[in-house]
């Protein structure tokens, strides 16, 4: 019992660490693409750890399935939208000389 709880806590803390890393990346990295990279990758990894921790904590097969699918869907959505944001930026940077920012 104790061990399970300890592992849960460790998983949650590791997840938090990755989220922090992602946020720091967003704050400190110099350009958009590296920021995107930091945010998407680190955050999804963090979510994975937190999902694992919670799955362990809740530990009912049905809920574990749901948690896994949540993680999977988030992965899918966030990677696609990351790609789209990057494309958006690229499209805007290349063809015209319009000023960035308002």
């Amino acid at each position: 019992m104790m061990i399970k709880e300890i592992i849960t806590v460790i998983l949650l803390i590791v997840g938090c660490f990755f989220f922090l890393a992602g946020t720091l990346g967003v704050l400190r990295f110099p350009d958009l693409f590296s920021r995107l990279h930091a945010l998407t990758k680190a955050d999804n990894l963090g979510l994975g750890f937190i999902a694992a921790g919670m799955a362990l904590h809740i530990a009912s097969p049905w809920a574990v399935l749901k948690i896994l699918s949540i993680w999977f869907f988030t992965l899918l959505a966030s990677s696609t939208s990351c790609y789209l944001i990057a494309r958006f930026q690229k499209e805007k940077e290349q063809p015209t000389d319009r000023k960035e920012g308002e």
């Binding site: 946020t23 704050l27 749901k66 988030t74 063809p95």
Partner: protein
């Protein structure tokens, strides 16, 4: 155990708030679009932890609803972007 959960939730929410600083600063529009990214992933994590904290498994349904519709949003965004590409040379 509850203390850990609360700590994690507050930590994640603070993460969002910190990330919002970037959204506020910009400088590019795409940077501001990161909010949704940030919120999507971190918000899901918060929901998961809340599910454990409140002992309420139905919260997972909320998370799944969000996720499934997020896919719809992404595909819609894809279409918007394609349309724009088609229009502006």
């Amino acid at each position: 155990m509850d203390g850990v959960f609360i700590f994690v939730i507050v930590f994640l929410l603070l993460n969002i708030v910190l990330g919002l600083f970037r959204v506020w600063r910009g400088p590019t529009v795409a940077d501001r679009l990161l909010t949704t990214q940030l919120f999507g992933t971190t918000g899901m994590a918060v929901l998961l932890v809340l599910a454990g904290y409140l002992q309420e498994l139905t919260l997972l349904n909320v998370a799944i609803t969000f996720n499934v519709l997020a896919i719809l949003l992404v595909i819609s965004l894809f279409k918007v972007w394609k349309k724009k590409k088609g229009e502006t040379p």
